[in-house]
């Protein structure tokens, strides 16, 4: 009998824990509310199934536990019941998958008006590059990397000259504007992760990976590395500051370009 009580407690207790525990998604700061909505749908469906299955099990164990004289039923199959259960499950799965795929198609479709910026990872810190007046990021390659060109910007590409390079400092973004993040790693796999933005993506050495989002509120957010990258992995932090448009412009005006950095003032 203790097992019946334990099963009921697990079913009820898990739901109670879900409702009242203090740990939950961080307050969202990007346009990906749809992701949160899909999580909520999934919680509802899976929660109902979990409680139903465990409580049904508890009932069976209680009702059909061995007592002297009990004989089990003999019922090898019940095709109708089995098919019904399969169909209902299929419907439940579709109810989670369909919204999921809709949101994914938005996730992978970068809006045309998104501005680009680049996040570059190396063991164990972040650097960033923003396009300058020309609005373009110059090409880059690991082979150009040197002490005064830490991001490997191509010195022969005119588009790179006015790029703004941020090393060892915070990234700023304007609120309400979609941004496309280009990700590059010069050594191992890292992952650009800001919990409040929901979105994340790996930095895959040898490739440029990308994702997009729109910051929807101002504030400071911590960038964590979510791709295991060696002993310094937990220390690989950065900060992104979401500014109002005017604050952003002020900040932008104070940053140095690639050209300024590579020919330091004499």
């Amino acid at each position: 009998m203790p097992i019946v009580i334990a099963l009921v407690l697990i079913a009820v207790g898990s739901v109670a824990f879900h409702l009242w525990n203090p740990w939950w998604l961080t307050p969202i700061a990007s346009n990906w509310q749809y992701i949160d909505a899909t999580i909520a749908i999934t919680f509802w469906i899976t929660g109902v199934v979990f409680t139903a299955v465990i409580l049904f099990m508890a009932y069976c164990v209680f009702r059909f536990r061995h007592i002297p004289g009990r004989q089990a039923a003999y019922e090898p199959e019940n095709k109708k019941l089995e098919w019904w259960l399969a169909i209902v499950t299929g419907v439940g799965v579709a109810a989670m998958l369909t919204p999921g795929l809709f949101v994914w198609s938005q996730f992978v479709t970068v809006p045309a008006n998104a501005t680009e910026f680049e996040a570059v990872g190396q063991q164990w810190n972040w650097a960033f590059r923003l396009p300058g007046k020309s609005g373009r990021l110059g090409t880059s390659d690991v082979k150009y990397i040197s002490s005064d060109n830490p991001l490997g910007v191509n010195p022969n590409d005119p588009n790179g000259k006015d790029n703004i390079v941020i090393v060892g400092d915070d990234l700023h973004l304007p609120v309400g504007k979609p941004v496309k993040v280009l990700l590059r790693s010069v050594d191992v796999v890292h992952d650009f992760y800001v919990p409040e933005f929901r979105a994340k993506m790996d930095l895959m050495p040898g490739m440029v990976t990308r994702f997009w989002f729109t910051p929807i509120r101002t504030g400071e957010f911590e960038i964590l590395c979510a791709g295991f990258c060696g002993v310094g992995h937990p220390q690989m932090r950065g900060k992104v500051v979401v500014d109002t448009e005017s604050d952003y412009q002020t900040w932008l005006g104070k940053q140095q370009t690639f050209a300024q950095l590579s020919t330091p003032a004499k």
Binding site: E77, D187, V188
Partner: protein, 586 residues
Amino acid sequence: MSEVTADTVGSIGPAEVPEVELYHAHTWLTKYVFCQDAKVIAIQYSLTAMAIGLVALVLSWLMRLQLAFPGEFSLIQSDNYYQFITMHGMIMVIYLLTALFLGGFGNYLIPLMVGARDMAFPYVNMLSYWIYLLAVLILVAGFFAPGGPTGAGWTLYPPQAILSGTPGHEWGIILMMASLILFIIGFTMGGLNYVVTVLQCRTRGMTLMRLPLTVWGIFTATVMALLAFPALFVGCVMMTLDRMLGTSFFMPSIVELGQQLTYSGGSPILFQHLFWFFGHPEVYIVALPAFGIVSDLISTHARKNIFGYRMMVWAIVGIGALSFIVWAHHMYVSGMDSYFGFFFATTTLIIAVPTAIKVYNWVLTLWRGDIHLTVPMLFALAFIVTFVNGGLTGLFLGNVVVDVPLSATLFVVAHFHMVMGVAPIMTVFGGIYHWYPKVTGRMLNETLGRVHFWVTFVGAYAIFFPMHYLGLLGVPRRYYELGDTAFIPPSAATLNVFITVAALIVGAAQMVFLFNLFWSLSRGKESGPNPWRANTLEWQTPQTPPGHGNWGKELPVVYRWPYDYSVPGAEQDFIPQNQPAFAKVG
């Protein structure tokens, strides 16, 4: 259903080929050490797996201590923390669970359950164990090598795995590669045996649709492993070449700590595809034997036929096949072509259907049963709870957009521990309590068994259920310390302490289990040949423990499926598979 009713004796034809003479061991060494008897090999596999599993358990304590009390233990630094994680994960998945289910349960149960005298190729089977042992020793050697074992994470992703920012990049990673390569070679020898034995060595009357689900689970898992491990094998070989000869299979141009390396042109993402082409099926290589074993435990201890046997078989085979086209759900945020997301999310969620059918059928087997709450039954119930829980959180992670925020957080750690850690381990325990009497002739102590069950089940749930919510909050996995992180409230640290305490208690309960295993060997109650009154053939052997050759003079003949429990009108509530007709009451 024709499978259910007993055939008349005459309809089972004579054997088509005569029996071949079984090899016979003559010396102590060939009888107990270099032994070719699958039952001895099974025990060797199981004891080795449990011994190395104990190492992984101790490592989990060290990791949990660090997570609950960061900085308190000078012994646990960032680099050895990552070595602990890596060795813990790899040992648990490969060297404990895979070896125990296939090498341990597979070797013991396949020949007995199909009515064979031994495996098809006993000599190769013996080699399989010794190569496995060698693989384990090389793995352990990592702890003593200069620089220690690899700390690359059990996924071993290059470039990180072979660069100097990762502990154990000197020797550890090479030993890990060598050990895995040997493991796969050894496994292939055993695996071919299991497959051929199931297909070719069944006794007369044992049709495929009369195999116990345990055999179906182990058989399908073995076929999958034979197809999946080669991907890991080539991945390991290529990475070893990258590390030792400077090739660039997985290595693009890299600047490491300001230094240009000579690598160029390789693809780190290719390794991830190879790894997960193995790694995802691996989840089911561990799960399918558990599915099978649990089905038999539930049926036997609820004295009722398994519900929907044919659907169960097709679900096992279907899950096995589907699990080869879902691997990239581990790579949703790897930067692979974003359209893959649509495909892999769909295939992944489709697997939920056959998986759910299995759960329904287990639960429906309990319905109108005659449930004996024995220790194996309790563990089977615990399996269902933890498996359902872990399976449902899989629907979060499989649904590509939901995975985006949750990947690489503690949600993932909680999910996979529930579904492929705790649930299969529950089955392992249930299976050991169930078959120990056949292996030793004695019962495991019931009281100790119940203590072990309660602490392990409740404790494991308490460890991993709350952990999901830390992941939802955004706490990343593989973090040696969380440091000061604005979005993580102090209450998270409290929960971490709670989880660690639970983990230590669960760990201690395993000592009760080990004690029980050794104590009952000489002190356990004598079990007799068939203490659970079960139908499958292994309980019908002329001797307990079964002798060399399993069956005495005559091989058993099978007349019915293994689930004839509580057949209306039968005298007893079970009818063994080798019993031709049953005595009606009155």
